[in-house]
């Protein structure tokens, strides 16, 4: 149940959570996230870590594509930059994870800003294509700059450690991944409450009039690219601590597509959409897989025969959402919330 509230101050009206009920729900969510590793198996912890990584990266893509309107299909490659940087710094300079993860973010931000330069001249689909080019180019650097990236063999990284403890299990990495994911989401929400976030949206909606309002397009487009890539870089760095091996194949174009698909399925233009999308797109293939293997005792060829079906379902989800639910999961969520807003007094 939620009841409309009258705000006493502008500060209260500008707050993220406007009612106590919202704060309560948020508290419960936070509590659940904290308790999660104590009640779940390694597998679910790994999935939680993957979801956290994807939430970080998808939030970045949401800032860039969902808020600034610049489509990037190079995000997995930026993630790769973060991952390689973190691995290199950790292996060669023995940097602890709490330094190498942001370092990965900054390296990716720098690279992302460079590849964002074309956004000043091209827009929309052309920009998407240039970022594909970025993805190819970075991929080929990962592959050929053997001294740093280990070439096709890739790199192995020492586990992260905290107070002398090696963080090797997904359950341990969870304590790195989830806080960073939470931080990422909080940052994105804050951003939207300030001039920077508004400028991004203005650029998305009408970049020429944004310029006449005093928004420096060059600066803000690059800023958006850099920030989104920073997110991607951090996601990549967390990823590398989770898996501890990187090969160039880990960051292919298809992963970039995954992120864009995630924010579309989640709902473009809302931070919540990025979270929904990342969770949904990570879980659905896994659940379908579990479903297929559950059938195996009764139908021995289930895994074999149903695997292509999973590929189809993945595609059908994207097509289905875009055709019938273009505003994504966030919209569904809002509808549900709307329905229950006055519950139990009226449904």
């Amino acid at each position: 149940m939620r009841i409309g509230s009258a705000k006493q101050t502008y500060a209260a009206d500008e707050a993220i959570f406007k009612t106590d009920v919202q704060r309560l729900w948020f508290g419960l969510l936070a509590l659940a996230l904290i308790l999660f590793p104590f009640v779940s198996s390694d597998y679910w912890q790994l999935l939680a870590c993957l979801i956290a990584v994807n939430v970080i990266a998808a939030t970045g893509v949401m800032i860039l594509t969902g808020f600034t309107g610049l489509v990037s299909l190079g995000h997995a490659a930026f993630m790769g930059v973060g991952a390689y940087t973190a691995a290199y710094l950790s292996n060669h300079l023995a940097l602890p994870f709490w330094l190498s993860i942001p370092a990965g973010g900054f390296a990716a931000a720098a690279v992302g800003a460079v590849f964002g330069i074309p956004s000043l001249r091209v827009k929309g689909l052309y920009l998407a294509l240039t970022t594909i080019a970025a993805s190819f180019i970075l991929q080929s650097i990962f592959f050929n700059w053997t001294a740093v990236t280990g070439g096709a063999r890739g790199l192995t990284i020492e586990p992260a450690s905290m107070f002398g403890h090696l963080l090797v299990t997904p359950g341990a990495i969870y304590w790195i991944a989830m806080p960073i994911a939470a931080l990422s989401v909080w940052w994105a929400r804050n951003l939207l409450r300030t001039r920077v976030g508004r400028a991004f949206i203005a650029i998305r909606d009408r970049d020429v009039s944004a310029e006449l309002l005093g928004i420096d397009l060059l600066r803000y487009k690059l800023m958006s690219f850099a920030l989104a890539s920073f997110y991607a870089g951090m996601a990549g760095a967390v990823w590398v601590y989770l898996f501890r091996v990187i090969t160039p194949e880990s960051f292919r174009l298809i992963e970039s597509i995954f992120f864009v698909a995630a924010i579309i399925v989640g709902g473009l233009g809302s931070v919540r959409g990025a979270i929904f999308g990342a969770v949904f797109m990570t879980l659905v293939p896994e659940l379908l897989k579990i479903g297929a293997s559950d059938l195996a005792p009764y139908w021995p060829d289930a895994v074999k025969l149903l695997s292509p079906v999973r590929t189809i379902v993945f595609g059908a989800l994207i097509v289905g959402f875009l055709m019938f639910e273009p505003l994504g999961l966030n919209e569904i969520w809002l509808r549900i919330r709307q329905r229950f807003a006055l519950w139990p007094f009226r449904t």
Binding site: Q45, A292, V303, K304, F324, E325
Partner: protein, 396 residues
Amino acid sequence: MRSDRRKILGGIGAGALASTFPAPWVRDLRAQEASEIPVAIASPMTGVFAFAGIEGTDGANHFAQYFNERGGIAGRKLRLIVEDTGYQVPQAVAVFNRLVAEYKVPLFLGDSTGFQKTINEEVNRRGLLLAGASFASEIDDPKKYPLQYMPGPSYSAQVGMLLKHIAATKKGARIAFVHSDTEFGRDPIAKSEAYAKTLGLEQVEKIVTPPGSFDVSSEVLKLRRARPEFTIFHGYVMAPVPEFMKQMKEARVETQFMGTFYSSDLGILQKMGDVADGYLGVNAYNYVNQEGVSGPAMDFIKKANGGKYRTNSYLQPWTNLTLGTEAMRRCLESGKEMTGANLKAALNTIKDYDMGGVIGVPISIPGNSLGVGRIFRANLKAGKMDPVSDWIRAEA
């Protein structure tokens, strides 16, 4: 209209979720039967290696049937849990984490070099035995990969066998390597180049093809100039090997084509067409349709498949499981727990073991690999692979 569709879409989504979601929780509660030995397989059923994953799954399932029919290990039956990885490392790791946590498997079969490298630390930490589809030379190192093994000779050992065969056929022969620019393709090259030198062979060309490129014409032009007498392919399954062979034939380059495990399968060579006739391939196993090959395992395979040809990828998990279960048997018989270390130690005690017709000679596994292989010649008219060498033991 629109809201109907929404409902349908929502219904499908909810249905998909409902059908799968409770499953893991329910399964966690399911007591694991003590009469079973679970073995988990992460197999690429989609993606670029799907054909191998699907063959391999059949091979594994047939092995389980074979093994269980013969009583398992002291009455304990083998139970396989297979899952798709899409030939992607993160997916394979997810499969690993889930299956290992859920079933307490003593043996896990992986799908790729990348995965086996990635998961190595985790395997060591959890203490279980890991094998897979990879013959990467790097993994053939018991120090770095103490709990892993591979069902045949490493790629560099395979190329080594081919080189030895060349040296025996023609002294100082002109050879060329053609390999893909992938981890798989690059794996044995440096070692093989050095080995060719020590054998006194003259390397006249090395071709590297980018992954995914379909055009080979400029590479063929290079080979046309280099005129190698022997051309060794590595790092491919099918494409672009047939196109190389066709164009080299057109260009009238008289060369003997050779290749390693994945491109030495009869089924693959038949798909390549007539040009593949006379191709020399190194295989770790006998071919399922090979004459005069028998033994309990091979006879079972032939019967189970009703005379249908099965590829190398089918025999790979078969061999992995044969070795793995044998290690388990030895481990249990000596009264030890099935930990990774115990299993690996038991595995290393396997000496002069008869593979039941799958491999032509008794095998031993002193380190991480099963170091025997044999060179076969494609005889496509007869639909067979003819052995041209004896079983060769890999050197180093």
